[in-house]
């Protein structure tokens, strides 16, 4: 069939017009016409992205019955979508169009007009060659379910549920223990500013419980989760009774499994589990919130206490971020109960990342809490007396007695994180926390579309940071899964030809999204269209030429390359 390719050069006001010789471009490009197989129509316009410019293009496409369209203008980042929409308007398949960026790649970087013009011509020629090999692609629409599964009912999971649930969106909130709220329900008060009690948290817990659009499952875990953004099939199981199962579908999954505390028994020098009155921070929080008291085993309030930060930090290889602050909180609890208590906090580094932290630290220090920076530390018992033996940063060894010892163990990923990662096909980082899609740019998403992470499941976090995550994920899901709106999955994805695939599975091993599965019966690999993102990695890896990247096929790229260097 003969091709009728329209090539439109945009002046972009003076941006392009002043820097390249558009007349010359039009003349040279027109001369590439090879009727009847390849007819090239060329024209210029002042501002193609303007409404008037778009109408002009639409008109040209229709009037000339173009089969392909090349636009020489600005960056695809600016107007690819604009021009694709013009194509759609005129029933020209948008994948039969190509935008050539003669502005950033020619006009703006080459001061010599002649050279800029020459490069523009070369570049447009390459584009024309490519477009001739492009194929129409159709966008598919998939039904999507707006409902969401939230795994873990700590503060991060609760806030996620609250920000998502609505009349049109059900939230399934899952918790493996018998009650919701997570760690925060074990605290007496919430830092900073000693004095905030748990009421604000209790209000949130109550709000989830009363919300008709949130269905809570306790003592329940995920049994199965298969699918993709907009359509995950979920099976839950009761932890006491394998047969008690629940099945439903959701469009997205939020992982809010929180953290565990490192077990200090693993480091014998802290004496935890062996020496009396050595506690973890969480034990102190729990006892204080349940009984309102912090007492020694003997039933007496302590006269001296040593608070030891960073327990397990070196072993874990990261700072847990929240401990310094809550250790000030614990010091203040002790001071409130017994103002004459002598408290020493042993730290390695102070982590004060939030805006109120410095003030909270100074306030704690002013309450006559001593702070000692140590290099090595161990807890010793001699007769009934307990001592903290430590080396200071200057190398001096010292020791002080303490009746009560409170440890701040490192924050670790929740037990069972590996299982969740495997079920959902997402990754854990070297520390065992859930791996975000991008540490800097996309910290609440994962490598799987539709699966998100919030709170300390991703990284040790305090309550405000966990809430921030939850609200961010709320925003993401609300914009991605709009009730009643269908999903349009990526069209420029890969496909594998049955005939050429030898079943070597090289492609499986390079795909970061698990988008390829191996069909045992047919002994070939198959791309899951709903998951593939179209990076093309599998295509470059396939030794048999069986994998193809739609819109980035090898012939398309070859044609572009060959014409560019001709």
């Amino acid at each position: 069939m003969s091709k009728k390719i329209g090539v439109y050069v945009c002046e972009c006001g003076p941006n392009i017009a002043d820097k390249v010789d558009i007349k010359k471009i039009l003349a040279e490009i027109s001369s590439l016409s090879e009727p009847p197989e390849r007819i090239i129509i060329t024209k210029k316009h002042k501002l193609l992205c303007s409404n008037e410019g778009q109408d002009f293009l639409a008109d040209e496409i229709k009037k000339n019955e173009l089969t392909h369209l090349v636009i020489a203008a600005c960056s695809p980042r600016d107007h690819d979508i604009t021009f694709m929409n013009v194509c759609k308007r005129t029933n020209l398949n948008p994948y039969l169009y190509k935008l050539i960026n003669i502005r950033e790649h020619c006009a703006w970087i080459i001061p010599d007009k002649e050279e800029a013009t020459e490069k523009a011509i070369q570049y447009i020629r390459a584009g024309i060659n490519r477009v001739a090999y492009q194929a129409p692609l159709t966008e598919k629409e998939l039904d999507s379910i707006p409902d969401v599964l939230v795994i873990g009912a700590g503060i991060a999971g609760i806030e996620s549920s609250l920000s998502l649930a609505s009349e049109k969106r059900k939230v399934y909130l899952l918790e493996r223990t018998s009650s919701i709220g997570g760690k925060v329900t074990k605290f007496e008060k919430i830092l900073p500013h000693q004095g905030t009690n748990l009421d604000i948290i209790r209000e949130k817990i109550q709000a989830v419980q009363e919300n008709e659009n949130i269905k809570i499952f306790t003592e329940t875990e995920v049994d199965k989760a298969v699918g993709f953004l907009g359509n995950f099939e979920i099976t839950l199981k009761n932890i006491h009774n394998d047969d008690q199962k629940n099945e439903f579908k959701v469009g997205a999954i939020v992982v809010a499994t929180g953290y565990n505390l490192f077990n200090p028994e693993k480091i014998p020098r802290y004496g935890y589990g062996k020496i009396e009155d050595v506690y973890t921070s969480m034990e102190i929080e729990e006892s204080n919130s349940k009984t309102g008291k912090i007492l020694l085993k003997s039933g007496k309030p302590p006269r001296t206490a040593a608070l030891i930060h960073c327990v397990g930090r070196e072993e874990k290889g990261y700072c847990s971020r929240v401990c310094c602050n809550y250790m000030f909180k614990i010091a203040q609890y002790l001071k409130e109960k017994r103002p004459d208590i002598k408290i020493t906090e042993f730290y390695q580094d102070l982590c004060l990342p939030n805006k109120a932290d410095q003030e909270f630290f100074v306030d704690t220090k002013n309450k006559e809490v001593d702070f000692i920076r140590f290099k090595d530390i161990s807890i010793k018992q001699k007769d009934k007396e307990k001592f903290i033996e430590y080396t200071k940063t200057d190398g001096k060894k010292e020791k002080i007695p303490a009746e009560m010892i409170i440890l701040a163990p490192a924050i670790e990923p929740a037990a069972g994180s590996e299982d969740i990662a495997e079920l959902l096909n997402i990754s854990l980082d070297e520390m065992g926390f859930f791996q975000e899609a991008h540490q800097k740019l996309n910290p609440v998403a994962t490598s799987i579309d539709g699966v998100f992470i919030v709170g300390s499941a991703q990284n040790p976090k305090n309550i405000p940071d966990s809430i921030m995550d939850a609200q961010a994920v709320g925003g993401k899901i609300l914009t991605q899964l709009i009730p009643g709106v269908k999903l349009v999955p990526e069209v420029t994805i890969s496909e594998i030809s049955d005939a050429f695939c030898t079943g070597c599975q090289t492609c499986l091993s390079v795909c970061s999204y698990g988008a390829i599965y191996f069909d045992e019966d047919r002994n070939i690999s198959v791309v899951n269209e709903a998951i593939c993102r179209g990076c093309g990695n599998c295509v470059a890896s396939c030794p048999s030429g069986a994998a193809h990247a739609k819109h980035f096929t090898s012939p398309q790229i070859y044609q572009e390359v060959l014409e560019a260097i001709r």
Partner: protein
């Protein structure tokens, strides 16, 4: 003698280097017209065969630009690119092609200056090597 005008194919990944090249443009930086951009979704789409074909057809150099390690839009694509690139260099040597004409560089969306600098330096280097000898050598 006429000055040799090199032709350099420059593969740009959509998410980082292509955006970096745009920034070089919007910042009105200067780099030679020799650089001919070809946009792909990810540097990992680049089949070594593209590069060999480009050389056999007269490219004087091939330059691949991708996101910095750890920043690939598709997670680990650029690690695969790096591995394939290392192997390709060996293949080039084995075939008697000049592997010194190949370049891989990580350039982010905010590194317009780096894009221009690398393009300038690389073009100078390619110029100093002269024309790609392979295009006149029929050897395959």
């Amino acid at each position: 003698m006429k000055e040799h005008k090199p032709k350099i194919i420059c593969f740009l990944c959509k998410w980082c280097t292509s955006a970096g090249a745009d920034l070089a443009g919007t910042s009105r930086l200067r780099y030679p017209p020799a650089i001919l951009p070809i946009r792909v979704m990810c540097s990992s789409r680049i089949d070594p065969a593209f590069i060999i074909k480009a050389f056999l057809n007269g490219a004087d150099g091939v330059f691949i630009g991708g996101c910095h390690p750890g920043d690939c839009h598709y997670q680990e694509g650029n690690y695969h690119t790096r591995r394939r690139f290392a192997i390709l260099k060996k293949v080039f040597d084995a075939l008697g092609l000049e592997s010194k004409r190949l370049k891989l560089s990580w350039i982010s969306a905010s590194e317009g200056v780096k894009f221009a600098r690398v393009s300038n330096e690389y073009t100078e280097k390619i110029k100093s090597f002269g024309e790609n000898p392979t295009k006149s050598n029929v050897f395959l």
